[in-house]
């Protein structure tokens, strides 16, 4: 899961770009053709879309409408992907697919011209105009908004300097407008909703007219109750809880779809922390957590934090550090971060007498910024379309300290057989595919 401040702190800009292979290129990618029905490369379910009127979804993390459209955990990533739309999608193979943008081209001056889909509509039926896009982006990225010119009702001209086109798949750049009275922002996605999920209540998301999609009934429950969802024959369960996955695998009507290694736990250590990891058996770290994990792999072109030097991030702004406290801190709700911190203490990474400390999100962010602790265990997205921009969002001491990837983790999708088509985006977001 990614907390709000993580998003802001690290990657408010983490954008999905590709499942495998290199990071997205800076030049304008070609317009991918509409995927053929037989293209199942990114599908985790391939049932007939019309076979169900309602699809029941079980999520094990909280969903907060106030976070929309920028997801902060796997559950929000799934739901927001259905409700909100960016200009483009990047599928699990890195292919750029049209979304709100129906086409794009590069002009003679090198500017990108993006034309919106002619049938793009907000939930309230209002057509989506180029000015709506500009208004939505201006609220989230003013520098990006300044590089955009509205050509007509549906066309935008974008200065590409220093940008990757895949950036427009960033959920933060989803086009929304505020709803009267608050609540869910009005989006342009294939589903709309006004409800809330939590406790015994389910959130209903209705398909837009003509989308050819079943309605979604989304329930949110703690991970410890995920097996109850399996017993209730839920259609899709997104979880990393090993007990629930093991239980689901015993049920023949379910298939366990592995999603990508989408998160990496990283140990940030200020320069003066005296943390010495060289002699430690870090290969034992995956055993320390309760989710599926592997030793962090940084040489697969994945983790953007592996090489910050290329970004030439200035470290001069590092704060004056007092001798750090001999403890490894983590965000207290992240059990896996706690397990990793405890393992590092168990390995005597800081010598005897060191401890771990779980901090509430505001306190953790303050501590992380301050750099007064010996080390911080943090979960980050493995990839971003703009690593240097993300690096510039880190606390100033990070470039002078050490960044040690610990483990990679991923979420599983427990899918009921016969479910309508589900595809996976580059960032691991699961999306229902219309007929």
């Amino acid at each position: 899961m990614i907390r709000a401040h993580h998003q802001v702190l690290l990657v408010g800009m983490l954008v999905v770009a590709a499942c495998r292979g290199a990071a997205p290129r800076a030049e304008l990618p070609p317009l991918a053709p509409a995927l053929a029905h037989a293209d199942t490369a990114c599908l985790i379910a391939a049932g007939r879309p019309a076979s169900r009127d309602t699809v029941t979804i079980a999520l094990t993390e909280p969903v907060d409408p106030a976070h929309a459209p920028l997801p902060r955990n796997v559950a929000e990533r799934f739901l927001f992907a259905q409700l909100y739309e960016t200009l483009i999608h990047v599928d699990c193979q890195g292919r750029v697919l049209p979304a709100l943008a129906g086409s794009w081209e590069q002009g003679a001056a090198g500017r990108w011209t993006v034309t919106l889909r002619s049938d793009a509509r907000f939930w309230d039926g209002a057509p989506v105009t180029a000015r709506d896009v500009l208004t939505a982006w201006r609220a989230r990225d003013s520098s990006l908004a300044q590089s955009i010119a509205v050509l007509d009702e549906r066309a935008l001209s974008i200065d590409p300097s220093g940008r990757s086109f895949q950036r427009f798949a960033d959920p933060a750049l989803a086009v929304t407008k505020s709803a009267p009275g608050g609540g869910w922002p009005i989006g342009t996605g294939q589903y709309w909703t006004t409800g809330a999920a939590g406790g015994a209540d389910a959130l209903w998301a209705s398909p837009m007219a003509g989308a050819g999609l079943p309605a979604l009934k989304v329930t949110v429950a703690p991970a410890s109750e995920a097996r109850d969802a399996v017993d209730a024959n839920v259609d899709l369960l997104l979880t990393s809880d090993p007990a629930a996955l093991e239980y689901g695998r015993t049920r023949p009507q379910y298939q366990d779809a592995l999603l990508e290694w989408d998160h990496t736990y990283v140990l940030f250590a200020p320069e003066a922390s005296g943390l010495e990891l060289g002699a430690l058996r870090l290969e034992s770290l995956p055993q320390a957590v309760h989710v599926e994990a592997r030793a962090a792999q940084v040489n697969d072109g994945g983790l953007w934090l592996a090489d910050l030097k290329r970004c030439d991030v200035a470290a001069a702004a590092a704060p004056t550090l007092a001798p750090p406290r001999r403890r490894i801190v983590y965000e207290q709700a992240d059990r896996d971060a706690r397990d990793l911190a405890a393992r590092l203490v168990g390995l005597a990474a800081l010598g005897r007498g060191a401890v771990v400390a779980g901090l509430a999100p505001p306190a953790f962010e303050t501590a992380f910024r301050g750099g007064a602790e010996a080390a911080y265990v943090l979960r980050v997205r493995r990839r971003t379309v703009d690593p240097c921009a993300a690096a510039r969002e880190l606390p100033a001491w990070v470039p002078r300290g050490s960044v040690t990837p610990l483990i990679d983790t991923r979420t599983h999708a427990l899918v009921r057989r016969g479910l309508p088509r589900l595809s996976v985006d580059w960032d691991g977001a699961v999306r229902l595919v219309p007929r």
């Binding site: 055993q287 320390a288 706690r338 397990d339 911190a341 405890a342 203490v345 168990g346 401890v355 771990v356």
Partner: protein, 559 residues
Amino acid sequence: MSFRARILIGLGLIVLLPLAVFELRVRADMAGRLTAEYQRRVASLVAVIRADLSRDSAGTAARLDALKDAIAADNRFRLAALQGADRAYLLDYAGNAMRVTGLAMLQVQDDQGRIISSGHFRNEYDRVEPELPRLLAAAPGGMALVETRTAEASLLALARADSLRLGGRRLTLVGGVAVDSGFLARLAPDSDLAVSLALPTDTPTRVDSAAQVVSALAVPFVDLRDAPSLGEARIVVTHSLAPLAALRRRVDAAFAAAVLLTGAIALLLASWLSNWISRPLRELARRTAEIDMERLDVAFESDRADEIGALSRLLGAMTQRLRAGAARLREAERRIAVGDLARQVNHDIKNGLIPIRNVFRHLLEAARGEPDRLAAALRDRQGTIESGISYLENLATNYARLYPQPAREPCDVNAAVRETIRRVSDASRGELKSVLADALPAVRTDPLVLRRILENLIGNALDSLASPGGTVIVGTTRGAGGDGDSSVVRITVADTGRGMSREELNRAFDDFYTTKPDGTGLGLSIVRRLVLDANGALRVETAPGAGSTFIVELPGEAE
């Protein structure tokens, strides 16, 4: 120091000294008893804690024993521990077992002392720590306090070790219950008793034996931090003496209140008692001070049956005797004066008669020898005769003027009162009443004197009335004399006037002292002399604003 002050001090000491002694004794006894009780409670609690630790140790042993059976029957554990399969199950095993068994510390070590599963610190797996079970085995009773650690903090546990064989390998279980503030709090049955833990690594703290009762229980201690060793920790039981101090303060406060209250009561009592005793003495002293030869009419009447009453009556009898003696003295003086006067008169008369007798001899000689010259001789000597007669007449007149001899005769006092009232009654000056007793004995005195006494007293009483609405009551009663046999006639003249202060009363009988603008200041002085001359007594009862009552007592005639 006055008699009154002595009574006050004496009574105060009598009351306060025993109280102070009593309080000191109570404080000392209370402190001794409570301290002994606290020591007994501390000793009892130490014994209870020793039993509790043994029970906890036995409970831990039982749980480890049950865990051994569970491990032996758990094939999944066997596979994980012996063949390395399902490592996650093995790593979580101790934590799950710890929660099931209620232990706070649980560690499973292999035969190399390597931690293969830890409940209190899951991710310390693979650490080699063979000293812990070895030291526990060496500890008395196989139990010791172990300071180990979790990921977040150090953990103090009362632990013991056990072992089992699994597939030819020896596994060691180390389990224990947490010794934390809750554990210590459970050992203390009430808030007055405190249980704390002193580890060898702690900085020694000074024990204030004046503030608490202390006892300690030694417990084996395993320190794993640097060089693992077996030491000794102490469970310290203290009983604060604060309740005793508070009790002392309350007792002190109660005694202070008692002392204050008793002191106040004693002061009031002493004041009342000293006043009760000294007031009649002071009054007697005051009256005695008034006595002189001119004022022997001071009353010493008392109806008290005690010594003061007796003294008062003795003084009354003495003044009565003094009055009688003074009367006799005055009578003697009068007789002496009368004798002198008689001799003077005799001399003067003889001096006056001698010329006359000489004239008569001359005349007789003339009559016998020269009868015809008798007439001439008479004429010659007529002047001498007339001069002698005139001298005698002048002499008589002069003597008559010297002293009016009272004519003592039985007088009816009631009649004199009625006559006087009739004569001086004046409605414009105030109401005049009489309350006269019947069958009064007559008094022997000069009616004129009696009349002058009554006129003066009644007149003064009327003059003292502040307004015409006032009343003067003249009363007569019969009383007993100081010797008990004779009788007196008591005349009271009571007015409702302004009364007199003590100072005014002291001077009321002085010559020329008056409070009236046109007074001569001789009225009461004359009354006093007249009463004393009549062998009577005069006293006054008065107070400012309460009127005055003049009481005249005259000896009654024997019946």
